[in-house]
Amino acid sequence: MVVAEFSETGLPQDVIVGDVTRKRSHTRRWAFLGMLPFVAFITMFLLIPTGEIIVGAFRTVNGAFTLSNIDDIFHAPYPAAFEFSVELSALSALIGGIFGFLLANAILHHGVPRWIRPAYISFSGMAANFAGVPLAFAYGATLGSLGVITVLLKHLGLNIYPAFSLQGLFGAALVYAYFQFPLMILLMVPVIEGLRTEWRESASNLGAGAFTFWRHIGLPIITPSLLGLMVLLFGNALSAYATAEALGISNLVTIDIAQLVDGNMTLNPQAAYALALGMIVIIIVTITIYSLLQRRTSRWLR
């Protein structure tokens, strides 16, 4: 696949300057050899595994063609797991996205003290990478049944359990937000900085207040980026496994896949292939919806 793309790309027209041309054309044929290690690595560690999943999803253990693996994912408990995965990813992308946007906008506001911006950005860089097992434990220590805040609230006469649970949709989304929200801040800051001062001032000059500016100008301009980032957050949450496992969430696609392949990768790899394929399909569908929306919201870009 990649090799085919290489030949389609053709010759690098834009770099050939002066007397290196002759030398370049001699070695061009050989230049692709320099890519061999990389191509081999990508093939082995990315392309073959992906191909293995697609093929394996339609095979029995003995290698014969079958649709029963695919059929499996439409039976309990998998549909519920897919549903919860998508809900949790969407909710955490929404929470992280909206608040990340609001916060990115807030720290860029000229009235907010200057030092807050670098402090937030560097902390976000940390928090966006602070996912997985430690994050789940951190929330356990905070809002678990014996968590510091849970106990504090109990002393204040507010018992959040059993209404609240870190394994429920809202609890888990709150935990996920800890890496989604800072990621959104990091990615949103350059987008908001891309809104020109001239646009704000023109709007203000024409009589618009902050709300009118955002409604008619600011939001429409950043919507394509906003959508793209939300999709990124969605994918980010969808692929999360460590956080969910350490939180003790049970009905999630990634958890189900792990249970099927745990240990020696021998338990029931065929069903795992089908579930993995299901995740790939969800990602492709999401990206497709995104690009359709993108086309509608960015007509003015073309």
Binding site: T9, M44, A106, V112, G132, A138, L186, L187, E245
Partner: protein, 283 residues
Amino acid sequence: MAQVTVPVARPGSHRLRRARSRVPIWHMLWVVLGALFFLVPIYSVVEFSLQGILPGQNVFHWYLTVFDDPNFRSAFWLSVQISLETVAASLVLMVPTVFWVHLRLPGLRPVMDLVSVLPFVVPPIVLIVGLAPFIKSLSIWLFVRPEVLSLIYVVFALPFMYRALDAGLRAIDLQTLTEAAESLGASLPRTLVRVIIPNLRAAIIGGSLLAVAISMGEFTVASLMGFNTFSVYTFDIGMSTAYEGVALTFVSFLLVWGIMLALYLLGRGGAGAAAVAITDEKK
């Protein structure tokens, strides 16, 4: 024109100052709430890790217990070892490749941009479902050695490593540097080692730190393939003794914080480097 007398505003008059900077109450509210959201769990971790201690025991009892555990030490060193191998393998694979693409095959850059995003699109658990049986069928010897994790982590580090190196190479005048070195009689590998790599130091360190961050914290692949790395140990100990797990959580936090601080100090904002890596990817 009718002359109307209006009092002249003196410097710092209330009227002017009010007009200039209305305190952005809403924005400040978000800033404070966001800070609470970030800091409360960290405070809770510290608080929780100092609880459950019997009279006479050290306040840092749980930390000391964990650090004393030989299993912790071996897990931690295994992760350190894997991280270093990941960095080494990433650099050996990516530095010559990205250099080569910039020098000889710039037309491939869009393809490289695309390929380097793939690891971000394919969830780790999906990747490992396809990859593990393949490696196993290839070589059982490799399948059970920790080096296999390093190789897989090279895939996860690829987007970050590629972005860092790509940006670094774009910032230097590669063509001129190389031609100058070649005209002085240096071979291409020698040019790479003696001229290009020293000029790419910041990019290489930046990419490497991100690779370390990924390798130290990775849990999915390590646990599914049965390796007892730092994060797997943290998980196991947390399941048996919550206090120790939370103490290790704080250690992980400091570790990530240290790496991000190093990136930040490296200039161009380390947080930014990670962000840039991801931002560009979505194109």
